[in-house]
């Protein structure tokens, strides 16, 4: 595999392989010295045109644990502010000798656009409301770890909230259904895309109806920064109808899992402290983020095909 830009590009067998490879990385992260020389001499540049805490830091941690060098591009202090174009920025960093770009941008398709300007591998760390494949792999890995099953056949996964603006939702819907889960979206009509009839999902507008039958409750962040017009009447009304409250937690199955990709809006979609939820996997999602991104970097930069291509 040369690039990872969407779950489609990874495919079913690719997804299973990355999940297995992640087991190796998880073991490394448990060692007294969690560092291996696997990607010595490789350079990974993170190119974030949007804000990020966990994705950027977990990619950088992952690269360092594999002994790759990292370059961090900070838009706010870069020559982009002097008017340098995306193309020139990519070309400039490529000239410094990088093997992979980790890209986040507000526009859909940027990772595919960039491919034309560089020979480096490209990892999509979020393009608009389109894809965020590594988050989806992290979430699959986290569910796999918690339930001890590699196949999600018959598992009922409910994704709640701002589906419309969510690249996490789009990648996760694909990945979850690839592994055999049944996905239900819960959102007000204004926070759903205009047409989801071709998506492998059920839609429900009432959270309370699906709470007792969900195996996984996946809460999304209400992306107020992307909301130009009123998608919800008030935050308070949204959180009453779609937020996770103590009352709703009490109606979850005993074995049900609660997840959130972060960052959380406390008091909006999360009305309670996640540590009050018995089976909250939110911290596992962050911890597994490093292992999964190590597996992705190793697969792209350490695999035979790619090494042969560069030699």
């Amino acid at each position: 595999m040369k690039h990872l830009r969407s779950i489609d590009e990874l495919g079913h067998s690719g997804l299973l392989e990355i999940l297995q490879l992640t087991d190796h990385m998880t073991e490394i992260n448990q060692r007294p010295v969690p560092k291996v020389p696997a990607l010595r001499g490789r350079t990974v540049a993170s190119l974030f045109f949007e804000d990020s805490t966990r994705t950027r830091l977990s990619f950088e941690t992952a690269a360092k644990r594999l002994s790759a060098d990292t370059l961090t591009f900070n838009v706010s202090t870069s020559s982009v502010n002097k008017g340098e174009s995306l193309r020139d920025t990519v070309a400039t960093i490529t000239d410094m000798g990088v093997d992979a770009f980790v890209v986040r941008h507000k526009s859909v398709g940027i990772p595919w656009q960039i491919e034309q300007w560089t020979k480096a591998s490209i990892i999509n760390a979020g393009d608009g409301a389109h894809q965020h494949p590594t988050q989806a792999i992290v979430d699959c890995y986290t569910i796999r770890e918690a339930t001890h099953t590699a196949r999600f056949d018959g598992m009922q996964i409910t994704i709640v909230g701002d589906i419309k603006h969510s690249r996490v939702a789009r990648s996760n819907i694909q990945a979850f259904s690839m592994l055999g889960a049944k996905v239900t979206l819960v959102a007000p009509p204004t926070l759903l895309p205009p047409d989801v009839s071709h998506w492998p999902v059920d839609v429900n507008h009432h959270l309370d109806e699906v709470i007792p039958t969900s195996d996984v409750l996946y809460m999304l962040r209400l992306q107020s920064e992307r909301m130009s017009q009123g998608h919800v009447p008030t935050l308070r009304e949204y959180s009453e109808q779609y937020g996770l409250t103590q009352k709703r937690v009490a109606r979850l199955r005993d074995s049900a899992i609660v997840m959130h990709p972060g960052p959380m809006n406390r008091g909006v979609e999360m009305q309670i402290d996640p540590s009050d939820v018995k089976n909250s996997l939110i911290h596992r999602q962050v911890a597994n983020g490093v292992s999964v991104r190590m597996a992705v970097l190793f697969d792209l930069l350490g695999s035979g095909a790619n090494l042969g291509g560069q030699a």
Partner: protein, 183 residues
């Protein structure tokens, strides 16, 4: 001169019984060399060395019952200097649930060839502590070393051509000549 008769078909160089006897002998040699089993730990290299490590450990623990020798498994694929040539064997994960600091570690592999796997293994071990000593046990030493590495315990020395294929399982050791010019 060839130790094997026919070309391009597997030739048995050790039977299942030979393999079992070699493992018993190596177990005895390990105990003898280390004057007992105090501080001993066995680590098999994924994947070919793990079953041998387990067999040797079982044998040692039957011979000496004073303490139990622990056995672990080490995946060296991320420590290799030739990453990309050999893929990671998925599922063959490192499992060393004990501290190696101060221990005498016996690394176990099936076939010793270039020595690169063993070099990677010695580097990998450092992530788990600082052993007092590291020794090497192999079922087959087939020569063609590319690094200054020498085994302490050997099941069988097997002269080979560089491109021969050697496979070692508990059912026996087989060699397949890949080169038609071997005589």
């Amino acid at each position: 001169m060839s130790t094997y008769a026919s070309l391009n078909s597997p030739h048995e160089v050790m039977s299942a019984t030979d393999v079992r006897r070699a493992i018993v002998r190596i177990a005895h040699e390990i105990i003898e060399r280390n004057h007992g089993i105090e501080g001993l730990a066995i680590v098999g290299l994924q994947r070919g060395g793990t079953w041998i490590a387990e067999a040797i450990t079982k044998q040692i623990n039957e011979i000496e019952s004073s303490v139990t020798v622990p056995v672990g498994a080490l995946d060296v694929s991320l420590h290799r200097d030739d990453i990309g040539i050999r893929p990671v064997s998925l599922g063959a994960i490192t499992d060393i649930p004990f501290d190696l600091t101060g221990a005498t570690v016996v690394l176990v592999d099936d076939v010793l060839f270039t020595g690169r796997t063993v070099r990677a293994a010695m580097e990998g071990l450092n992530n788990f502590g600082r052993p007092r000593a590291v020794q090497l046990a192999v079922l087959i030493d087939r020569g063609h070393r590319e690094l200054p590495i020498r085994p302490d315990f050997v099941g069988k020395n097997l002269p080979t051509q560089k491109d021969d294929d050697v496979s070692a399982t508990s059912d026996g050791v087989r060699i397949t000549a890949m080169n038609a010019s071997g005589k």
